[in-house]
């Protein structure tokens, strides 16, 4: 079964500094990969997704992620964070090889705190 590891449970970063949130997944076969963000008291929202093609994926709010098959990683980056980026970030994976349907499996999350 697929699983997702997010090694950093909390990441504090100063405003306008760059940030990288790490994500590793368990499978070495084909995967779909996602980053979702959860702002306080709100539902999860999709930031970006990798399905195939270019390994560098750009999402909303200036975030991007790079798919690295050899390292089974999908790290999320932003060159300059804002206070409004303070939120919980979840990496997620699903299996494109399933013939019927597949569920999305989520990691434990990383809490990003942007310090003024």
């Amino acid at each position: 079964a697929q699983s997702v590891t997010q090694l950093d449970s909390q990441v504090p970063v100063f405003e306008e500094a760059p940030v990288e949130l790490r994500c590793n997944y368990s499978s070495s076969v084909s995967v779909y990969l996602f980053w979702y963000v959860q702002y306080p008291n709100q539902g999860l929202q999709l930031l970006l997704k990798y399905l195939s093609g270019s390994t560098l994926v750009k999402g909303i709010n200036g975030f991007e992620a790079e798919f690295n098959k050899s390292q089974t990683s999908f790290h999320l980056r932003k060159p300059s964070v804002h206070i409004s980026d303070t939120a919980e970030y979840f990496c997620a994976v699903s299996d494109p090889m399933k013939t019927s349907y597949d569920k999305v499996i989520f990691g434990p999350g990383t809490s990003l705190s942007v310090i003024p």
Binding site: Y36, Q42, Y101, K103, F106, G109
Partner: protein
């Protein structure tokens, strides 16, 4: 509707009580998921509906948990004889088509269940 709506937003139950949590997905969405999110953790899959058919209930933690979507729109997650370990946020998500792992999930804000 404009988004996925869940009610109630908060629910406090005494141990042993039955509770019912409601999810109104986006109108016309085929797929509906329920997830359980414990404090400080990522969402854990509970069950999946494709229209009115419950195709996967492998994540339901015990036979005290029951979900239905009788007309293929609104869904209810029922927990019988609640226990303290059931305390969590219950998230509902929908997607427009049969979920083959690559579609965007639209999440509700969740129901926070506290069992005393």
């Amino acid at each position: 509707g404009a988004g996925v709506s869940q009610s109630p937003r908060y629910k406090v139950a005494k141990r042993g009580q039955d509770v019912a949590l409601r999810c109104d997905p986006i109108s016309g969405h085929v797929s509906l998921f329920w997830y359980q999110q414990a404090l400080g953790q990522g969402p854990e899959f509970l069950t999946y509906f494709q229209n009115e058919a419950q195709l996967d209930k492998s994540g339901l933690p015990s036979d005290r948990f029951f979900a239905e979507r009788p007309e293929g729109s609104v869904s209810t997650l029922k927990i019988q004889r609640t226990q303290q370990e059931d305390s969590a946020v219950y998230l509902c998500a929908s997607s427009a088509t049969v979920h083959r792992g690559n579609e965007k999930l639209f999440f509700g804000s969740g129901t926070q269940l506290s069992v005393l």
